[in-house]
Symmetry: C2
Subunit: 139 residues, 2 copies
């Protein structure tokens, strides 16, 4: 694997590492200032500050003791300075708003990553729950 | 709005138009041959053929009489030849696997679009349901 692909893969791993340390400053620092993030229930956050604030809230509550594991990281380079990274993830240790333990949750996270000088930054992420055994789902 | 932004917006509108004509050849034609698409339940399709095949199946069944409306189209250009387009959508007229009418469904579709000569092609899409009133959701 070339150096750039390894750098982009490490962004995905760093997202999980920051999540698992519940270090939202580190997590937000992976994103460009004007990045957007859509979470698994379609909350659309615009800018690093919103992304940080939303994750700070959930990591004080629902995700306080949660652990994120990423797998199947797929990286493509439509141009030399832009990558699309997608991975599967499993979340365990999370709780309901009422504090009850919840079963493992599965999803897919896509991120667009752009080279910014010597480093890469996430400029866009969208997250989707994996619901097994269906093609679509009534809401 | 500049010409390029208008072209990318028209890709998003063309996706909805093809959906509403249930013309999966036209819908698939918006995508690059090696595009990826993750749908609202986390099915991960790789390549235009898989994207077409999956949509052909759902448009013969669940989405046969469905109508997709897009709104709030947001377009950014990280480079001159790459755009990130995101929109909200509402789907009506769809049915359950058992054929029962379902309420309107809401979501957010993100697409990465790349200039390919004189035209633009979608190289990546990820779709997420909007679930109102929650920060997260037990699966």
């Amino acid at each position: 694997m070339n150096v750039e692909a390894e750098q982009v893969r490490s962004m995905v791993v760093s997202f999980a590492d920051a999540w698992n340390r519940h270090d939202m400053e580190a997590l937000a620092g992976l994103f460009a200032e004007d990045a957007q993030f859509v979470n698994v229930v379609g909350l659309w956050w615009r800018g690093r500050d919103e992304i940080r604030g939303a994750h700070e809230f959930t990591h004080r509550t629902l995700f306080k003791l949660s652990h994120l594991t990423v797998a199947d990281i797929d990286v493509r380079f439509p141009t030399a300075d832009i990558a699309i990274a997608r991975c599967r993830w499993v979340l365990d240790g999370h709780v309901s708003p009422e504090g009850a333990a919840l079963p493992d949750r599965h999803g897919i996270l896509a991120s667009v990553v752009q080279r910014d000088g010597q480093q890469w930054r996430i400029i866009d992420s969208q997250n989707t729950d994996v619901i097994e055994g269906v093609l679509s789902r009534p809401q």
